[in-house]
Subunit: 150 residues, 2 copies
DNA sequence: GGACAGTACATGCACGTGCATTCAATGCAA
DNA sequence: TTGCATTGAATGCACGTGCATGTACTGTCC
């Protein structure tokens, strides 16, 4: 007879899902916001910029190559293709990466981390880890640290 | 002698944090993207719009009041004050909520869910739960469902 | 009462994002 | 070889967001 109640209730399963989702949302918001603020303030990097630099470092170390294709990078960062393209343009303008045409497939773009790029990454990493340790451990506590709720 | 290695390595703790963060990022991206796409396509609601409607429904049910102050709503949605203000303006323009001056404190705004607003929420909720069930359970699997990676 | 700091919300502005489109290069088929 | 669908990446555009600011109102201290 539940259909008589216009305010349908969540099943226990759904309630759990919603709780999980809200916790995830809160953690994401807190971490992303703090990360953006801190990295931006101190190193001129956004969260995604840092992420891309990190993938670049890892990718190069893993394959021993000095460069990585944008197409390889794309699936690992959660950005649309256009957003990634512009992000890379920003990094290049900042002198942190350099774009070069890929010889084997001239549609592709090879990304190389510049010396400045690697340095910037190495400098920023401790702060990045610090933020994660701060926001990812323990209970989410009270409703904490929304954007502009310093 | 770790300082001789220019590529500092993460401590085991940090590595775990990073893994946790990446999982969270992936889940958030997948869920938020799908949620936005589905709710937007079928009910003309963004993820945050739905969230606000839901808080409104819950808040009213909890307090038995027909209205909620924006200030009460703010800390529960992970949006800046300005973003929330505009989101509410959108909801009002769509006829889903109505804004009224708060008598006890004339700076405040009382939000009321319209009949259309409640209906829209009730209609959209099953899809919302469906998406959560789809993206939140189990391992994150392969790098899945970035925006525009249909 | 009058001045003033603080709060609640709205708005101008710059910016990052996604979608749709465009352009170049590739692979395949006829 | 020519023609055509496909892929990699860049770009025009609209839109949602955060920051800084503005406006209205409240409470307090004098």
């Amino acid at each position: 007879m539940a259909e008589l109640d216009s305010r349908a209730l969540d099943s226990p399963t759904d309630a759990g899902l919603v709780a999980q989702w809200r916790d995830l949302l809160a953690r994401h918001a807190a971490t992303a916001c703090l990360l953006d603020r801190e990295l931006g303030e101190k190193y001129g990097l956004g969260m995604s910029e840092f992420e891309v630099l990190e993938r670049l470092v890892e990718g190069c170390e893993a394959e021993g190559l000095p460069a990585l294709r944008v197409a390889e990078l794309a699936p690992t960062v959660h950005l649309s293709q256009s957003a990634l393209s512009r992000l890379i343009a920003r990094l290049e303008k900042a002198g942190l990466v350099s774009r070069a045409m890929c010889e084997s497939d001239r549609r592709g773009i090879m990304l190389t981390l510049t010396e400045a790029g690697r340095e910037r990454y190495e400098q920023a990493r401790p702060l990045h880890r610090e933020v994660l340790a701060l926001t990812l451990v323990g209970e989410i506590g009270p409703v904490c640290s929304e954007p502009s709720t310093d």
